[in-house]
Amino acid sequence: MTDLVALSYGALRQKLLSKSVTVQDVVTQYVRRMAQTQPLNAFVTEYTDQALNQAAEADRRIQSGTARPLEGFPLAVKDNCCVEGMRTTASSKILENFIPPYTATVVKRLQDAGAIVLGKTNLDEFAMGSSTITSHFGPSINPWKIKGDTADLIPGGSSGGSSACVAGLSSLGALGTDTGGSIRQPAALCGVVGMKPTYGLCSRYGIIAFASSLDQAGPITRTVEDASLVLREMAGHDPKDSTSLVYTVPDYTKALGQSIKGMKVGIPKEYRPAGLNAEIAAWWDKTIQWMKDAGAEILDISLPHTKYALPAYYIIAPAEASSNLARYDGVRYGLRVPGGSLDDLYAKTRTEGFGDEVKRRILIGTYVLSSGKYEDYYLRAQRVRQRVTDDFTQAYKKVDVILAPTTANTAFKVGENITDPLAMYLQDVFTVSTNLAGLPAISVPVGLSNEGLPIGMQFIGPALQEERLFQFASVVEQAAQFKGIGQ
């Protein structure tokens, strides 16, 4: 039997429908691979028995000719997405033993479409981070290594476990969430595709909130086509989320392979600061050349408020987080450390339950919302957010998409950077603007650095232009012929 874990869903589905392999074969191989890649620490909790049972059910459906759009699709779910009966921790001690009695809408839709959940993946605690280092369960490990070096590298974050398992072939696809780059950045560092949809395209119901006005779930896959297939099933209006858009989700696969001839690609000068990693700059230029080769027109554009985006993000996101995380108080569920009084119980529970990064952001968020600071910080950040959004609106009057690097550098070693939170925050510099503006963006692997580490480029589109992003991403995918692990 060929190595089924290396196949895309498109290729796999043909084999499944022609009955040359079974879903049970597929899931069995993935379960084996999960065991082999245990050192990656990609999963917080594995649900392999349940997955095998569901595989049998999927095979019955295929036998009876009632296969659903994602029948037998092995899926990993970021551990901040609730799944009924499956432990959901947000990689935090405070939810270490939390088993939700409900399923996030995006997961439910994928399950209803036939996807099989293999397990829950590791993340930075409450998705606060860009490395998975802040996870209570320890960091995940990037399946890629520097050539000739055995040192463990971080997979990026916060959807580090999701990216690591997809890149490491221990899941076909994964759900991530992206608040400031948490899908795209780890996808780029792990050499996989990561799509952050338009804010409101995918329901947030059942997803443990970090920053409600920025959080958006999306797929992490090895191919652009798989991302388009997964997104199509998970997207769409949900009456249980007031911020969910009423929108008819198109068949994204139709955009794949469509010509981009005559379309305009914007290159924002603010994303090419002095001192940008030369290799990343070179791969950006190469990607621009692919665009030209495909007949697209390249335009230099400016997004003048880009430099204010990161500070604004680090006010808005912690502000919302400080309030969103108030519910973890030891009263109804999760960790409770008994105290002599109610305040004592809160203090002890939250001191023990939250890690340093989460505490840092709660403190920042509480500060910027406090009386006398609200106007100077929170409201000012909201005005910046509007300016950042306006920049994009202006740009899209001239161009169809914007092309920029996803990250400023390649994956770093476990243990680097951790001492300086500000250096870590700079990981988000190319990604946060998109979240502030609520726009869709997709990161695609374009090649390897000289050290042999993946580099990703992102396309940022106007709201609800996911189709266009898949169209451009598939052009790059064709041109790059990026070889992932096991390819």
Binding site: Y205, I208, A211, S242, T243, D329, R332
Partner: protein, 487 residues
């Protein structure tokens, strides 16, 4: 103008009162969750995942509550804000699962309006409304059931409240109580709240200060959570006394929050202004701003029921009632319905004034005696009209009618049946009455002599004698007329 100044040995004091009335919005379900609203249900049986603030749960606005707030605003002659926003009020408490209350701080749904209250001298006084906003109620902490644990009941958690805030326009406890009474009546007429203080669905925070007339307002104390109209009056009286005594003895008023203790009829300090929590209000990112159209508001306006003030004016105009009588009739929901049903069944429309006297006089007395509300009256409006028609036709006297009413109450029989069974029909035959009167006068020649020589008071004696002979059935008007003629 009623003098509301308080005069002590040192001079006059003016009392300034403002109210924040919290009233439960009438709705089958809570403000942001599908859970049923409840009173006296088993603890923690009316709690949804949203109410319990489970991870990943999101609020969805209940539009019925919105409509109720708009109705209330319109009834209070207030500005309806077409743009309003829900904010989070952040604080920790065991019965506040989210760690924040969703409220409207910066942009409430209803702006400025007013309510005119009636003063004892039949003038009115305008109390301005500052704003009305919607917010969630918290759950209930129960400290007195378990020796060393507090119990939490989340049934009430998430129930919709309206907070109706007045300007500091009231000048006495009476005015404040009258305001709440009138507000409560309007809420009930609207059906926007049951405004039932016993069930805790109406509570008020009372702001009280005193100052010398013609000088700036004094420092105010806020008395929290006063839950009956009587207590509002008592709390104000106590507080006014406390403040005046303190000021006259050279002390100063602290701006503070106080609690009213109903058992001792006193207020005591809860926290000072310095200890006031910083609620860190910010717009709830889980909810979109509420955008209403003027058409929507107009439609609600067109569907408003007749309000107490309008009904009273109509009763005065259509039925010739006095301000006092009409006020008594419209002071609850059911009496005006009953009254108008009586009027409908009157043979002569000029009996409406008499009907008002009978409803608020004899019938109310019976209801009070038997501790019944008017909807449970064994004498229905049609039956009462039957009795009044007998009076109107001269068949029975008012005095007899009172006995018949008692009989109707006991036996449930129609008035006409009782009158004919007991032979109570009034003697209205002029010839017959003349014969009886002649006999009475003939039997009392000395009295006749005295009367004719100027002792007018004896007229009553002759009426009494006629009634005695006829067993009270003589038509009183005819008796008077004939007696006068013959004497």
């Amino acid at each position: 103008m009623i003098n509301t100044l308080i005069t002590t040995a040192t001079g006059d004091w003016e009392v300034i009162i403002g109210l924040e009335v919290h009233t439960q919005v009438k709705s089958k379900t809570k403000l942001f969750s599908g859970a049923a609203t409840s009173f006296a249900a088993e603890p923690n049986t009316k709690v949804s995942l949203v109410d319990a603030a489970m991870p990943g749960m999101l609020p969805v606005l209940n539009e019925v509550c919105l409509e109720q707030a708009v109705k209330t605003g319109l009834a209070l002659n207030a500005q309806i804000n077409l743009y309003s926003v829900f904010d989070r009020k952040n604080y920790f408490y065991a019965d506040l699962p989210q760690g924040y209350q969703i409220s409207q701080f910066y942009h409430p749904i209803v702006g400025e309006g007013y309510l005119d209250i009636d003063l004892a001298d039949e003038t009115t006084k305008r109390v301005r409304i500052e704003r009305i906003h919607l917010e969630q109620d918290a759950g209930k902490s129960i400290h007195d059931v378990h020796p060393d644990k507090s119990l939490i009941d989340l049934n009430r958690c998430g129930t919709a409240l309206m907070e109706i805030v007045t300007k500091p326009d009231m000048r006495s406890a009476d005015e404040a109580m009258d305001f709440v009474k009138k507000l409560r009546l309007i809420l009930r007429y609207l059906g926007s709240s049951d405004a039932n203080m016993d069930e805790g669905s109406l509570r008020a925070d009372v702001n009280v200060s005193v100052h010398r007339p013609g000088t700036p307002f004094g420092t105010r104390a806020e008395i929290k959570n006063v839950n009956s109209i009587r207590f509002i009056g008592q709390a104000i009286d106590y507080e006014v006394n406390r403040q005046i005594t303190l000021l006259e003895s050279g002390g100063a008023i602290d701006q503070e929050t106080r609690l009213f203790d109903a058992s001792t009829v006193t207020t005591r300090s809860m926290r000072s202004k310095e200890d006031a929590p910083d609620y860190r209000y910010f717009p709830d990112p889980d909810l979109l701003p509420v955008m209403l159209t003027q058409d929507y508001v107009n439609e609600i306006k067109g569907g408003l029921p007749e309000l107490p003030g309008q009904k009273r004016a109509r009763f005065m105009k259509d039925y010739g009632l006095s301000l006092y009588d009409a006020t008594v009739l419209v002071s609850d929901m059911e009496t005006p319905l009953y009254y108008e049903a009586v009027v409908t069944h009157l043979a002569k429309k000029d009996g409406a004034k008499m009907a008002s006297n009978w409803v608020s006089g004899e019938l109310f007395a019976l209801l009070k005696e038997h501790n019944l509300s008017i909807v449970d009256s064994p004498i229905g409006p049609q039956q009462l009209a039957g009795l009044l028609n007998l009076i109107g036709e001269g068949q029975i006297s008012g005095r007899t009618a009172k006995d018949v009413l008692e009989d109707m109450w006991q036996s449930g029989k129609e008035a006409s049946v009782i009158v004919s069974e007991k032979g109570l029909v009034q003697m209205s035959d002029a010839g017959e009455l003349e014969g009886i009167i002649d006999k009475v006068l003939g039997d009392n020649p000395q009295m006749v002599e005295q009367y004719r020589s100027g002792k007018d008071k004896l007229f009553g004696f002759f009426v009494g004698q006629v009634m005695k002979v006829t067993g009270g059935k003589a038509n009183p008007q005819m008796t008077n007329d004939i007696l006068k003629k013959k004497l």
